[in-house]
């Protein structure tokens, strides 16, 4: 299984990422998820902080776990950090497989665990106010669906 994990400030190119995943021609199915900064109220900036090295290691563990659960040919995870604006893309998880159900399942599994395991933190700026986004219990529940 081809694995690509990148933490970066820059945006990503979906066409390029999906093309890289399918370049070997093995996969007929790619399930991709992109997370976006919503435009809401006076939200002006979303700043993402992370724990370098642990982030990559944690995501690598999650991807390896997905690879044991489903027959995958490749996984790409790109997570942005730094200062983002409403409308910007935050994260890409793209999973390639010969089977579309496996691709969908693994992609959702990775997003659910990324939300609960990967050491990222979001701070919102609304007008003069800055505050850290609270972890959502519904994300823990989503991850628990997959068993341990």
């Amino acid at each position: 299984m081809q694995t690509r994990i990148r933490i970066q400030r820059e945006d990503f190119d979906l066409n390029r990422e999906v093309a890289d995943l399918t370049a070997n021609g093995e996969a007929g199915a790619v399930s991709s998820f992109t997370g976006h900064v919503r435009k809401e109220g006076n939200l002006s900036t979303l700043t993402l902080e992370h724990y370098p090295h642990m982030t990559e290691a944690e995501i690598a563990r999650l991807v390896a776990e997905a690879g044991t659960r489903w027959p995958l040919t490749g996984v790409t995870v790109v997570h942005r950090v730094g200062s983002l604006k409403p409308g910007d893309r935050i994260v890409l998880v793209a999973v390639a497989s010969q089977h579309r159900h496996a691709a969908f399942q693994a992609c959702e599994f990775l997003m659910d665990y990324l939300k609960t395991q990967a050491p990222f933190w979001k701070e919102e700026a609304r007008g003069e106010q800055h505050h850290w986004v609270e972890h959502r219990n519904s994300d823990d529940d989503a991850a628990k669906r997959w068993g341990s």
Partner: protein, 81 residues
């Protein structure tokens, strides 16, 4: 011991990283030690239900044993994705 702080834990303590060699044997006793270092630490660790820990870059519980070479990170529950 290399200590790292992230997000509001970092902001409350006022630094992102420090080297300490405290006489502690596990995560719980390290936190007890840190809370006595000043009001900023006491504030950061006031509610442990809001604190998560990683030892050597893996999620860890309060009972994990610590040695002088360990990297210990404190942070809020994660909010990526």
């Amino acid at each position: 011991m290399n200590l790292l702080y992230f997000a509001w834990v970092r902001q409350k303590i006022g630094k992102s990283e420090e080297q300490l060699t405290p006489p502690v044997e596990d995560v719980a006793s390290l936190i007890a030690h840190l809370k006595n270092l000043g009001p900023n630490y006491a504030d950061a660790f006031a509610d442990l239900s809001r604190i998560r820990v990683a030892v050597n870059q893996r999620h860890a519980g309060l009972d994990v044993k610590l040695g002088p070479q360990d990297e210990v990170a404190f942070f809020p529950p994660v909010t990526g994705g």
